[in-house]
């Protein structure tokens, strides 16, 4: 057992976990942040994507110990109170989900994509960049539409800040 200290959604936490614990299990089983999903458990589907120090990574492929000292943001940490993050709002408005299982990972990856491209995105780029996130409903069309919509909204909201 080790005590892993990290920041999750802006709050400092210290969690006692076995050394073999994966970050996704620290989040789900120890902090009850069950918005982050385990889809494949083989690093392929991306349902478990969270931001670690601002980078979208697969939390099923990182030990909790590796995350010690980092700042982790999960799907629960991106809205401002009742106001959805522009990416969440765009997914809702564009019906960017069917069963919703992949959605938390899609949204966390998509925010990272918009950050990396500074909002300069087109459809082929979004499709290529989302290759690490699998939607088994195969509802990609509206997901891509939502990401492109959000890229515009995030640019506007950044400009307003």
């Amino acid at each position: 057992m080790s005590t892993v200290k990290l920041t999750v959604n802006g709050k400092a936490v210290a969690v006692d976990v076995e050394d073999r614990t994966l970050l996704v299990h620290l989040l789900r089983d120890h902090l009850n942040l069950t918005g982050t999903h385990v889809g494949c458990d083989t690093s392929q589907c991306g349902a478990c994507v969270v931001h670690v120090d601002g980078k979208a990574v697969k939390s099923c492929t990182m030990l909790a110990g590796e995350a010690a000292g980092t700042s982790v943001t999960t799907i629960e940490g991106i809205a401002k109170g009742d106001e959805l993050h522009p990416m969440q709002a765009a997914f809702r408005d564009n019906h960017g989900l069917q069963c919703g299982y992949c959605t938390p990972g899609m949204i966390m990856s998509a925010i990272d994509i918009v950050h990396r491209y500074g909002g300069q995105l087109d459809e082929p780029t979004v499709r290529q960049e989302l290759e690490g996130n699998i939607c088994r409903c195969t509802g990609y069309h509206n997901i891509v539409k939502a990401v492109l919509d959000a890229a515009g909204r995030m640019k506007v909201s950044q400009a307003a800040e």
């Binding site: 050394d19 073999r20 980078k55 979208a56 690490g132």
Partner: protein, 266 residues
Amino acid sequence: MYQTTYHRASSVDEAASLFGKSSEAKFLAGGQTLLPVMKQRLASPSDVIDLGKIRELQGVELSGDTLTIKAATTYHDIMQNADVKKAIPAIVHLTSVLGDPAVRYRGTIGGSIANNDPAADYPAALLALGATVKTNKRSIAADDFFKGLFTTALEDGEIITAISFPVPAKAGYEKMRHPASRFALTGVFVAQTKAGEVRVAATGASQSGVMRVGAIEAALKSNWSPSAIDNVSISANGLLADIHGTAEYRANLVKVLAQRAVAAAG
């Protein structure tokens, strides 16, 4: 995953010393292969020694005609690095078609070559560019480093610290990506050194892991152009065969991808 003990090393010396004190330790860099393998219980190290936060293993240096990438530099950081883009853009391209964005944030060049998966991309780059692998004990030429499937010249507890690439005159990499795993069904890296030597390496093709392709090297040596390879025939003997492609299919891929790589290299 079986029980293990996690250690975070702050220096290469500390990592080596932790390894010496453990019964069956494994080094962890980005963890994008080791952790999935541990989850499948195909590996059960008593101790996991994290190299990912060691400062001396991070970064890129370009000095004259040598590009040095430190072993724990992530794929993402390699792709973004101005010196890599300037000196060997083929490495940036190879990295951009490897894994997916989330994997590229964590995976490292040192981890890839230490694992030496027969379908990994980086071994082809090292072999074709005639790179040198630096460890905490010695320097190993790429020609002597890769020893077959998941096997390298590394000794127990030896740690890769950096990879040095001579900057080539021309280089290109093309691969047929497996659509699910994104590993190379086959990938070919072609390089022409500044001295005019031609080196070609194929990954995902041979049953013994990454290999040089002498017939294509000879053809390109006399004429550096895709058409120079038109009449080269690659034997299917000793090539991998599985549900994704026969040995003959892979033999043809070696040729076609070499042509595309030469076209990309210009």
